[in-house]
């Protein structure tokens, strides 16, 4: 392995290592789950839903090709995101419309229920796999391909796939449940996270950026469940961190023209804790601020923290209020990269990015980008007045594109 310049130099902060991880799919230390999925399909164990064309060929950790569909996507929404930070998903949908892509936002979808499973363990292997397969089957029946918004759903489904591939008995039990529901037993050809789609469309976004973002510094929090669970199946790119960390989020932010700065606790989790964020938030608050936000501020002084999972946005954003009250060095807005990208290509900060659902003050970021937050808020208030008066039932897509 020859030392080389890390491509982040000049735009971001140089990571401590200068080595590049050489991807070699022929010598990958783990099994290619997609091959196993196809082998089981040949044995008649399940139907494989193919990735619709055209797709983007991205590379995973060890250099295998992962197909990322551009369109005909079935959006597996996330409870935390849709419930508490709806700008995250609204921005994903908006970007699809902005690029003219056909997508489907289903009502025949439950959450993966993994937040509850990791919080309380009030479920089991068969139930968790059945929930996943029910959703996959629902997607298959629409003809659209599942794309998963939540990092935890993505990681959990990768685990479920691994277990179903390796455990015949589990497969049989889950198939029985799905058959009882009158549904086909389907495994998607790839499990795709929305941030991989963001990676796939980064070039298209680049040519449409309407602000000069070169003065914006972002720190990226890679979501644990995106790349630590079943680690081989996540996007890596030798040009980003020398292929040593996932390229998701960072690659997109750099492509948009912003600067990504490194910080030493990048591997640490956000402190979400699943159970903790709901009933033991002293842990979440302390960890999110002392191990993440404060370190980022000290080492990189970012204008914004960007990440790609619901729980991470929530934990990192909401934890700052109480900590600020203790006079600690926090106060950095937290967004998903989908919201940041939408803003960069001209989306409205309230109608689309829905920033009013976030806690930490994002207005300095907007003004640094060149967005007039006050004017945008007045426009949004006018929308709200129209909804209240009944002249508009909902804020429609037509009025935000």
């Amino acid at each position: 392995m020859n030392p080389m310049e890390i491509p982040m130099v000049g735009r971001g902060t140089q990571p401590e290592t200068t080595r590049t991880f050489i991807q070699d799919p022929d010598n990958a230390p783990d099994e290619d789950m997609r091959e196993a999925v196809q082998a089981l399909a040949r044995e008649g164990e399940w139907i494989v839903q193919p990735v619709p064309e055209p797709y983007y060929a991205a590379r995973t950790k060890y250099g295998r090709v992962k197909k990322i569909p551009f369109e005909k996507t079935w959006h597996h929404k996330s409870c935390g995101q849709c419930g508490h930070i709806p700008g995250y998903s609204t921005s994903i949908f908006w970007l699809n419309r902005f690029l003219g892509y056909d997508y489907f936002d289903p009502r025949d979808q439950t959450s993966c229920t993994a937040w509850n499973y990791y919080a309380s363990a009030t479920s089991n292997q068969v139930a968790q796999a059945a929930v996943a397969m029910r959703n996959f089957s629902a997607a298959y029946e629409t003809g659209y391909f599942p794309i998963i918004h939540c990092g935890t759903s993505f990681g959990h489904y990768k685990e479920v796939r691994h277990e179903l591939v390796h455990n015949h008995d589990l497969r049989r039990k889950v198939r029985e449940v799905i058959t009882k529901l009158g549904r086909p037993f389907v495994m998607p050809e790839e499990l795709v996270h929305y941030s991989e789609w963001m990676y796939a469309i980064r070039d298209q976004l680049k040519s449409r950026v309407v602000y000069d973002l070169s003065d914006i510094t972002a720190t990226v929090h890679p979501a644990c469940h995106y790349y630590k669970l079943q680690s081989g199946d996540a996007i890596y790119d030798p040009e980003i961190y020398g292929g040593q960390r996932t390229a998701a989020v960072t690659s997109v932010v750099q492509e948009l023209g912003a600067r990504v700065a490194d910080y030493s606790t990048w591997y640490d989790c956000c402190g979400f804790g699943f159970r903790h964020i709901l009933v033991q938030r002293d842990f979440t608050r302390s960890f999110a601020t002392m191990r993440k936000i404060e370190v980022m501020k000290e080492e990189a002084n970012p204008d914004v923290v960007l990440t790609h999972d619901t729980g991470c946005v929530t934990a990192l954003d909401k934890s700052q209020f109480a900590t600020q009250a203790h006079g600690r060095k926090v106060g950095v807005p937290v967004l998903s990269e989908s919201q940041f990208a939408a803003l960069a290509v001209g989306a409205h900060p309230y109608r689309v990015a829905q920033l009013h659902w976030h806690s930490t003050d994002y207005r300095p970021l907007l003004s640094k980008i060149g967005i007039d937050a006050e004017k945008a808020w007045t426009e949004f208030q006018e929308d709200l007045a129209q909804i209240e008066q009944g002249s508009m039932e909902y804020l429609s897509w037509e009025s935000v594109l």
Partner: protein
């Protein structure tokens, strides 16, 4: 490592729980032995905050130290954040996954410490199991999240209006994260019933179990869904 934290609990009871953990189908995939290197501890957020160590979990299970195992079942497992940072383990262990299994066994056996750890959480179980979405916009209330500051109050005050100011049609909800079809929910209830999850809740909270069973049975019956 010797533990005498729970001398009043007979060894056979502790052994029974240990056997349930060990016989979980995932167990062999999650534990291959342990170098005691501590890499998992260095990566573990909960180890920074609590007196907690994923290395000790792996060690205890590998050594089949029944007393220590029982102590961890009561005093440690609910501290884990389930982030899976410990999957960095050079031995390919999954301490977080071992903890998931231990928690499942703790719930199935209705351990008192588990009931205490999940007190206050049961309303969430009700939400996820009966609606298919874990949190809803109307949970954002000042008294539930006082530490999140005045912005939570702002959201709560304008909730209905702000939800209607969301362009995706599926998000015009306040009691669910998104609109879920009735048939979808009935299918979810069927899954909980067929896989024994609903029964699992009765070990944790009998009242909650009874309420949920009634909600689910009524809905399934109304729509002519049979779960056998």
């Amino acid at each position: 490592m010797l533990s005498n934290q729970y001398p009043e609990v007979p060894l056979e009871d502790k052994q029974r729980l240990f056997d349930q953990v060990k016989h979980d189908q995932r167990f062999d995939d999650y534990l291959y032995g342990c170098y005691e290197c501590g890499i998992c501890v260095a990566a573990c957020p909960s180890a920074r905050f609590y007196d907690f160590s994923p290395r000790k979990i792996a060690q205890t299970l590998a050594r089949e130290d029944i007393e220590m195992f029982y102590e961890q079942m009561n005093d440690d497992i609910w501290n884990c954040s389930q982030c899976f940072s410990c999957l960095r383990c050079p031995r390919q262990n999954n301490p977080g996954g071992l903890i998931t299994i231990m928690r499942e066994v703790a719930v199935n056996n209705g351990l008192r410490s588990t009931k205490e750890a999940l007190a206050g959480y049961t309303r969430i179980i009700y939400k996820i199991m009966t609606t298919g979405t874990q949190v809803s916009p109307d949970m954002l209330q000042e008294d539930a999240f006082p530490d999140w500051g005045p912005q939570v109050k702002e959201v709560a005050q304008h909730l209905d209006l702000w939800r209607r100011a969301l362009p995706p049609e599926t998000l015009h909800t306040t009691g669910l994260s998104w609109q879920v079809e009735e048939r979808t929910m009935l299918e979810l209830y069927t899954i909980w019933k067929l896989t024994g999850v609903l029964n699992m809740i009765s070990e944790l909270d009998e009242g909650l179990h009874d309420i949920m069973e009634e909600v689910m049975d009524d809905a399934l019956e109304d729509q002519g869904f049979s779960v056998v």
